[in-house]
Symmetry: C2
Subunit: 307 residues, 2 copies
Amino acid sequence: MDKSMPDAVTLVEVGPRDGFQFEKSVVPTDRKLSVIARLVAAGLKQIQVASFVHPRKVPQMADADSLIRQLPLKDGVVYTALVLNRRGLDRAVASGIAAVEISLSASDAHSRKNAGMAHVDALDQGLRMIDQAISAGLHVRASVQCAFGCVDEGRIPAARIAGIVRRFVDHGVHVLALADTTGMGSPPLVEAVLDAVLPLAGRSPLALHLHDTRGLGLVNLMAALTYGVSIFDTALGGMGGCPFVAGAAGNIGTEDTAHLLERLGVHTGVDYRRVGAVSREMEAFFQKFFPGRMHRMTAFPPPPESI
Amino acid sequence: MDKSMPDAVTLVEVGPRDGFQFEKSVVPTDRKLSVIARLVAAGLKQIQVASFVHPRKVPQMADADSLIRQLPLKDGVVYTALVLNRRGLDRAVASGIAAVEISLSASDAHSRKNAGMAHVDALDQGLRMIDQAISAGLHVRASVQCAFGCVDEGRIPAARIAGIVRRFVDHGVHVLALADTTGMGSPPLVEAVLDAVLPLAGRSPLALHLHDTRGLGLVNLMAALTYGVSIFDTALGGMGGCPFVAGAAGNIGTEDTAHLLERLGVHTGVDYRRVGAVSREMEAFFQKFFPGRMHRMTAFPPPPESI
């Protein structure tokens, strides 16, 4: 196991998907496009822009197809969309997007609630979707939700996560991802899961999707960094999270993560001050404070001999 | 340098001082007493209850003398008060409190703003106060503000911090403390400062007072734990912080810290669920959301096979 820190880390911005879909107000397509353009200008190279879910269930994502058609093309920038079922994948293929994330839950309870089917059925369906997406020429990231625990099932055995990951690798996914959907990860748990999963990953890079629900998002990122993990999902301002918990924290913040990595001497290419300006503008749009920290700090001049 | 984690950590609750003094609403003495009693019941053994500052400047702390007279005495529980100048120390001695924190800034700019005198003069005054407090039979913790940077001066040389700490040790303080007043610390900086300071500490234990202003509070705590640091200031709900920054984060949260340490297998003796209940009640009192995370999570039943 590589226990040294990576020199560079890729941040995958998920605010326009994970963040925007958790707010009641629907962001107009033009506004999404402006946010995305500014995130690209801030140095983000991978942005999850939409989720292909039922437009009546998630009206915030109803403009997915139209949004994707209008995305600003730029060399080296990859846009992705989340797909959770076959109907969604069909729409993603038709939309012309080049990369999808196919996601299923390691928790049976969570899978039944969220995807309406048992975990084993979701895995079968997911593998078929992976095959279809690869056949269609898409870049595929396959992700495991609740990889670090579930509020209904508690701890998910690392062997179960490893079993799913092995199937993903067998089906030739391009990138693997583990999501701490509930924010229940902690350093010892992150280490246990990575110990079980990394040896199976082969040449597929592994991404982590961390939530800060319990305040451990960046602590868990530090633990994963020492394992050489070098792809992390982040959301502007730390948006996202649970719609049923007032003031609950969401994803690890893009600005907070980029700032920490800069302090550690790890390259991200992301200017967290520019991301912070977008976050503050979206706070005004949604009329709420986002739970991240650095977007607020970037409203002030930086300290001298900035450290 | 001891690079293994401690088996047990002492949390010093500073919410009733650092937290309450940053809110506009003044908490009535009876309410403070009830909060303190419940923090003791939750397992906290050290609580900073007041600051001896000018009552017109800081009306939130105007009841310090009266509060201290009414504190619930319990074996093994130590109450402390913060003192920043000689007048404050005289009041602390008269109040009958057994332990004080004498605090001064390593930043000249911050010292001039906050204490109205140059850093070198504040150090002279602080050393005389330490002598006086020890003569009066008080338990003395001496702390360095802005030990991890200052928004006006930027990075403070580790040698300057070390110089102050050496004087504190020479004057026989019982506990040393370094405060990340501005939340500008990061793991490499925490390590650099601890490398410079710990060899000088002798038999005086070292406490850290961390703020989460830039989202790195618990990341910095993790770095300090590997140096064997085993005393941390925390505030219920992550209260405290900067009155000039809307929604800015405060101290590291008592619940967040106790929860992390429990997950690491480090003993604190603090029941973070009981602290969380106090935080939620005080959120209602102040009519605002505190920036911590776990106090909100403790409103829900814990996940099964809690991890």
